[in-house]
């Protein structure tokens, strides 16, 4: 039983919850709305950076940084995704790839604010007001709460008004419009929700890892990971991201002990491709389909 309290396992549990939450936020946009964003790491990184900057540079509580982060990412999401909405399918996705790259360049160059490539280290000052804790259990509770919140939001949307509208827009935008749906507005709403939740994940990450630099938070690998989890678990289902994270995150922990970055990502790429070709509905989706027949 003492193994359960082992720090290593606790860390995996925290990361599992965090990834499930991030992937769940993406699932709203991509799974329900058909807006396959490959640029979530832009929102993640901004959430993390604003939190870190607010705290280390201005001495402001990270909670305020969180609120600022949510506003900024939501505003940015509207600004950048609105021109991209006229692109359909894969071109929308390719367009979203651009933003984390741009953000990383900004973070690397605006050194006054972000300390550039050397990154920001957050001092360990545990307290509730700084959202820094000595015990991993506290982080686990917070991460779990975040994951459950994302799940709850997804469930509320699933087959609710917003969810149905999203699916309609995703399936056939012209038909959706002919039924009175304000398609652009719907897309904006889901993008804003997704961006805000991702920024919260960034805030959590900053106060958990206590260090961030441009490549670690804006990396394309974050976007890959987020997408991978939902696809494996089941795109467009509320449980999908959670199942995907439960399967992949611990696996990632194990694999990282034996393999370095290259081979591990190679395996993920292969798993992603295999899932897309062989089991596109993911675990949850395939189970649901079996149960129906």
């Amino acid at each position: 039983m003492s193994a359960v309290f082992n720090d290593y396992y606790l860390n995996i549990a925290v990361m599992t919850c965090l990834w499930a939450a991030l992937s769940g936020a993406w699932n709203l946009m991509a799974g329900y709305g058909g807006l396959v964003s490959l640029g979530q790491s832009a929102f993640f990184g901004i959430g993390a950076y604003i939190t870190a900057i607010a705290f280390t540079k201005y001495g402001v509580s990270p909670w305020l940084g969180l609120i600022a982060g949510i506003f900024v990412t939501t505003g940015l999401a509207v600004a950048i995704s609105w021109p991209c909405f006229r692109l359909r399918g894969a071109f929308f996705s390719l367009a979203t790839l651009v933003f984390p790259i741009a953000m990383e360049i900004v973070a690397n160059n605006w050194s006054d604010l972000t300390r550039g490539p050397s990154g920001i280290a957050i001092p360990f000052q545990p307290s509730l007001s700084t959202f820094i804790f000595g015990s991993r259990w506290a982080y686990l509770i917070a991460a779990f709460a975040l994951m459950v919140s994302v799940y709850a939001i997804t469930r509320w949307m699933h087959r609710g008004r917003l969810g149905l509208y999203l699916i309609a827009v995703r399936d056939d935008e012209a038909t959706a419009a002919s039924m009175g749906i304000k398609t652009v507005r719907i897309k904006l709403i889901v993008t804003m929700i997704s961006a805000a939740l991702t920024a919260v994940g960034g805030f959590f990450y900053a106060q958990y890892i206590l260090f961030l630099d441009p490549p670690s938070v804006f990396s394309i690998n974050i976007s890959v990971q987020i997408a991978l989890l939902s696809i494996i678990g089941g795109l467009g289902t509320p449980l999908g991201p959670i199942v995907g994270s439960l399967v992949m995150t611990p696996l990632d922990g194990v694999l990282s002990q034996f393999f370095g970055g290259g081979p591990r990502l190679l395996i993920y790429g292969a798993v992603l491709l295999a899932t897309v070709l062989l089991a596109p509905k993911g675990i949850v989706g395939t189970l649901k389909a079996w149960r129906r027949t």
Binding site: A30, G89, L235, Y268
Partner: protein, 295 residues
């Protein structure tokens, strides 16, 4: 300030020609298959490594290795089309995206695993050479690259214009359904288009090798530029890709000198947003092309 302008224009045009070649493959694949090949950059990268190893191990000049690398990549493309692309041609967008995206991750990390993250470079006899015309210095490798890029584009455009398969491909770009009704073997041509598309990437990779560093994630930056070029030139238009490439190349060099070096990297991204806002179908594209799904 202005007397450096000719130099900048020339450098910009030269690199623009190569950007165009990078993008032709992407636009061809999209035009025929209606699939965005997220792994296009990785085919370029693989070709760069191919040229690098051929040079390092056997001293084969990168321009000569075009003759070896291109057929290999072409065949690889045919295989990939069969295994990865064909099954997802009618799948939902998300699945199509992640099929080629997954492929790109796989290829990047194969390179990373086997060859490591180090930046390699190829220094040929002419790598450091340049010609001087008036007060403009033209780097030899850029010039050769430009010439080959346009030759390659010309060959491809001629193929599309005059050959039977080429005409069938153009028909498919305009209207897949009608083309299939006319007896066009869309399955075989899909494979051909994909193979040709990645073969273009291979040629581009080989000629880039003497000019840039070779490393596993080289494809990532290149595909962003290629994408901007494709959107600027117009989706599905090969000529558009070349023109777009020239424009981007010149804009980049001008920005890098007259505005700022950091902005040089970002200018393509800014242009991209502007194109989307002002003229989403690009210069030579048909209105609404950018909204085309695969249905």
């Amino acid at each position: 300030m202005l007397d450096i302008l000719p130099q900048l224009l020339v450098s910009g045009l030269l690199i623009g020609g190569v950007y165009g070649l990078l993008s032709i493959g992407l636009t061809l694949i999209f035009g025929v298959l209606r699939i965005v090949n997220f792994a296009q950059g990785e085919f370029i990268m693989l070709a760069m490594f191919g040229a690098f190893w051929l040079y390092t191990l056997w001293g084969i000049d990168p321009y000569l290795s075009i003759l070896i690398v291109t057929p290999v990549v072409f065949i690889l493309g045919l295989l990939v089309e069969r295994v990865v692309i064909k099954p997802i041609l009618h799948a939902p967008h998300a699945m199509q995206i992640f099929a080629t995206f997954g492929l790109s991750v796989i290829l990047q990390n194969i390179a990373l695993t086997f060859w490591g993250p180090d930046y390699r470079s190829v220094q040929t006899g002419y790598s450091a050479q340049s010609f001087v015309v008036g007060n403009v210095a033209i780097s030899a490798s850029s010039l050769y690259a430009f010439v080959v890029a346009f030759l390659m584009a010309g060959v491809l455009i001629a193929f599309l214009q005059f050959s039977r398969d080429g005409k069938a491909l153009r028909a498919m770009v305009q209207n897949r359904y009608a083309a299939s009704l006319m007896g066009v073997n869309t399955e075989r041509l899909n494979r051909l288009a994909f193979g040709a598309g990645v073969a273009c990437a291979a040629v581009a990779g080989c000629i880039l090798t003497p000019m840039f560093y070779t490393f596993p994630t080289a494809g990532v930056d290149l595909i962003i530029t290629a994408f901007v070029v494709v959107v600027l030139g117009g989706l599905g238009s090969v000529a558009g890709a070349m023109v777009g490439g020239l424009i981007i190349g010149v804009t980049q060099t001008l920005t890098g000198f007259y505005v700022s070096v950091e902005l040089k990297d970002v200018i393509a991204l800014v242009l991209f947003i502007l194109i989307l806002l002002i003229r989403p179908q690009g210069l030579f594209g048909r209105a609404g092309m950018e909204e085309v799904g695969t249905k």
